[in-house]
Point group: D2
Chain length 150, copies 4
């Protein structure tokens, strides 16, 4: 029957539902390594934050202006798997997907790839906080933009 | 018989079941803060790692000797809640408990306290890896020591 | 008798010549090392800054209050010699001496010692800057305190 | 007249004498800032090191291979002027010139530019050290390459 979900155009719907992924490139430098000869584990959080800042900048959101109004993105929760070590000079890609967005929080899936190999993976929950450190409703612009990446 | 160690004395049993907690003190410096005026989120991972290294050192395990044999503790998983921001000059305590220990991995619960306030909390899974980056069986000394902290 | 220690003004000379040195202790952790297996060179600047903050705190100066008034110490110049590498678990002392103090700037000599061995040495010039980023006259309290350490 | 500066090939001499400058781009992220709202001073040393590593990589020198042979570049001396603060999201260029090169050491002039404004400047002395931590003669390839940048 025309218009029924069964008879429709799944390839269009697939397109609509295909997740967009933001890709950000990171080179490993001396400062990122530790005496085990690999990337120090805490530095993956820096790599993810660089990718988030680039993603937000490319959306047209200016974190310097946000800061002047006392608004900051705050990391609330990170659940991270350290899968394979990275080494000096490695060229890595941080891939960022939106898992969910609401007025109160944004949940991202971020992974670090070395060529086709996933070496790190995390779910990161962010909130927007005001000058008083209290959570603030995400501006509609941020919600609208983040939704595009769902 | 009343009063005999065998028949009475729940306080002994309490001792047996009372969890031991390792406490490590951290002062917040400029390097730890970011432009939001608070501790940069990734730095809590550094604070936890300092506490783990102090704990391991106090157990009599020498990570320099381990390194000469190509052995390193590797962080496999972190599930972290960032509860309350910390600020410059704050005096923090990192509390470390063993959640579980096996031949293959060690799971710790680590939290950061500011006086009586819990400001950060995480479960951290560690493995021991050899020179080839492959997981290695934890030496019995480490297992025995970690078990004491269960 | 002229020129004899007995007849002179030893208390003045003692005051003049006795240099006070502030000593601050640092332990080397994983985060401080790099893949060369030693302390990453930039981290000596962090160690010096921790020592300066401790020194200023012990003088009774509250950098959080300064910050609320838009006042910050800014590093203007560093001339540093990296003499001997430090390794994981090393217990280091950062020694801080005042070289000179004026209304506009404070010059410190800071060195890092491992037992009796000097492994790092630097001259650090600091200014006080206001909310506009412009240099500000050091409050007399700071000058008075710093002078005591000359 | 043959051989006279007037009649010769000044364009070649110009080429020979024109200093080559290596330019490396850095974006300022959250991790680079401190509670004063500007780039934390020690991080300029990281920016310079990233630029040096990129420069060395572009010369065809592989620091991972060097490391396997126990060879590392060690920073011996830094004389640095912190001229103007940088802020979050700033796009900076690290400019690197060779000041001098010998079998024993390499002296670079490195500055950080924000558009046309010089915000940081340093002279950096590097040595090559072997597995024993002792200085080693720079391989001719490094000397030859570095000379090209004089």
């Amino acid at each position: 029957m025309a218009g029924s979900p069964q008879s429709g155009v799944p390839q269009v719907r697939n397109t609509v539902f295909r997740k967009m992924t933001h890709v950000y490139s990171v080179r490993v430098y001396y400062e990122d390594t530790d005496m085990a000869g690999i990337v120090y584990h805490a530095n993956y959080l820096k790599f993810m934050e660089r990718a988030r800042s680039a993603w937000v900048r490319e959306m047209g959101i200016d974190q310097n202006q946000m800061r002047q109004r006392g608004l900051f993105f705050a990391v609330r929760h990170i659940d991270a798997d350290f899968l394979i070590p990275a080494a000096f000079d490695d060229q890595l890609n941080v891939c960022t997907d939106v898992q969910s967005v609401s007025g109160a929080r944004l949940i991202l899936n971020q992974s670090v790839m070395r060529a086709d190999e996933k070496i790190f993976s995390a779910a990161v929950t962010l909130a927007l906080v005001g000058a008083d450190g209290k959570p603030t409703r995400m501006p509609e612009a941020i919600q609208r933009n983040a939704i595009k990446w769902l």
